[in-house]
Symmetry: none
Subunit: 194 residues, 4 copies
DNA sequence: CATGAATGAGAGTTCATTCAT
DNA sequence: GATGAATGAACTCTCATTCAT
């Protein structure tokens, strides 16, 4: 019944995901997971040997879901600037914790790791996003929406600012106005230089 | 003996600071502090009730020292662009872990706190830096070194990028080239738009 | 299917035997057996309720095999002293762990048992060996190879020395020279008193 | 108060000693010790990190006590044969479990160790006893009590027989008669060959 | 008969925190 | 004030054993 087994594993990962979203990474214990899943201690260890292992699985699942997020947007026939604006709006939502997210847990996890795995999810996601944004900007330039001499640099700048905002939101809180202000500044850099 | 007491307290905070720089925040135990300070368990509790309390004191001490860092630079007769470049160079050093810093511990601390203190050090430092950079940019514009329509926006952009880079460095590592690239991009935004 | 059942039981016992030879008795878990046999947990419990039960079966199998070992030697036409020497040589081999054996596991098992079974394998084997050696010595005396006034006492002495050596080998290690020395001493007691 | 500390440590070792005498080595848990000593879990770990560590301390204490056992006998003006007889009588007492002993635990401990420490207590004690017995035999020969061409060999033979008997007693039980028989055999070897 | 997921008791270990001296 | 031994709660992890399929 490898099927049932896989199902249970998935159930644990999904339940754990919620726990991580609530409590972050560091403070979560195997007991927390066990209780959330309503299974036995030993039962959990059957599938995962530690919270780290479990969290990595949560992360992997996250990545799968994340991959097609962008696709959906690009698929439509919206203009590059509209797509970028949409992307930024969504980032804003997460930033302001309007939708629960693993954000905090992810940072805690990568902070706790002495040797970050080579194939670092955070890096991958960052680079992927930079790539997409760069393409978006280039497309925007072509269509006359944007003006930009260094699309890659601009894309990176956007992503670093977003990362900074994310951290700010987790460590001190940011107002919606503050986020808007940064997004606006960044967008003006692309549009406004006539 | 409030005097002796204060001295001991200071000694503990300074020793703890080193421990936090080495080990971060989360993994540091009271035992670690006790051993590093070579005092008794009970003795430590006389002054600090938890690592959190202790870390907050470390932070407070940090803040005092930090306040005058900028002053020194501004005092000189260097041009605004030179001062800014200097500031960025120093940030770069810390980013690349060329000098030991509390950076990681600070983030860990603010991540672990459920309710970040209102009077948040991180925010204060950030805002202070933004303010100084803004002034610097304005001075630079006046002197014709910079071109910038929104000095505050630019200052904030710089700081968010730096924060993003800092996080990147702690969670996945950043190359010197990557840091240089971002700094260059940011500086070009101020200089290059002829 | 009592036949198939018996076959499987035998398979388990034989596989377990190897495990016990490798790991001793105390540290072997049901999981170890299950994995070595590549059967299911429940499957194992169908046949054996514990490692103790299983080990007892291994021991029983051992005994069957052991019984005819001596026979083979006696059957030949070698002189008593040659047979005895051969026996001692083989014991030496086992002592020095030149051939894998259950030795350690057997001791561990009998140490762990609160109430050693009355029909104790160790005792049986010991007594049987004493008996054969006694006969050997008597035959040797008759043929003028040995001189011995108390063949049974000598036989027992030999066996206790061997047991002592075995223990020494498991608990602290013995050199080949040390074993040779003891064997020589014992043989000289039989031969050398001119 | 390193004094009080040392006292408590001694108390724990002595209490643990009793536990080991009762239960052997392998089955003893830290909890057993904690309960026997009526101290807290953490309190025990303050002194010993594992049952192994604790047992080693018990062993060390044992050794100290053991060292002077022989001295007492030798000091008197008894004849060598009388001293040897006394020694054997005491061994017999322990063998027959007439006095509680660590014997079983010691064997279990050395069986459980993968790599017996170089400075092996068992070996030391064995060698020390061999040495004393050898001297005893030599003295006996000089005084005309014993006849022996290889005192060291004889001493070793005696010790291996004793070890064999000890094991027999722990793994299958030995009768008093059986022990007497072996002792007699060994003594006759020293006396009877005229 | 056979499977293997699930259970839960229990061993080991660490740490913040207290308190008699 | 200062000490450091002592406490006990909390966590991790492993295993023998059971039971629905």
């Amino acid at each position: 019944m490898s099927d049932k087994s896989a199902q249970k594993k998935k159930y644990i990962v999904e339940t754990a995901r919620k726990v991580f979203m609530e409590k972050g990474y560091k403070t979560v214990t195997m007991k927390d997971i066990v209780e959330a899943c309503d299974i036995s201690r030993g039962g959990l260890y059957l599938y995962f040997g530690s919270t780290a292992e479990l969290f990595e699985e949560v992360l992997a699942l996250e990545q799968e879901d994340a991959d097609d997020v962008f696709e959906g947007k690009i698929a439509g026939e919206a203009t590059p600037s509209a797509i970028l604006a949409l992307f930024l709006k969504e980032q804003k939502k997460e930033l302001l914790n309007k939708k629960p997210s693993l954000g905090k847990a992810v940072y805690e996890y990568f902070f706790s790791k002495e040797i970050p795995a080579k194939e670092n999810l955070l890096k991958k996601q960052f680079d992927a996003a930079v790539y997409v944004i760069e393409k978006l900007i280039m497309a925007g330039v072509e269509e006359g929406e944007f003006y930009c001499e260094d699309p890659r640099g601009a894309a990176r700048n956007i992503m670093y600012v977003l990362e900074g905002l994310k951290i700010a939101s987790h460590t001190r809180g940011v107002s919606e106005a503050a986020v808007d202000r940064e997004i606006l500044y960044v967008m003006q850099g692309l549009i406004g230089e006539e």
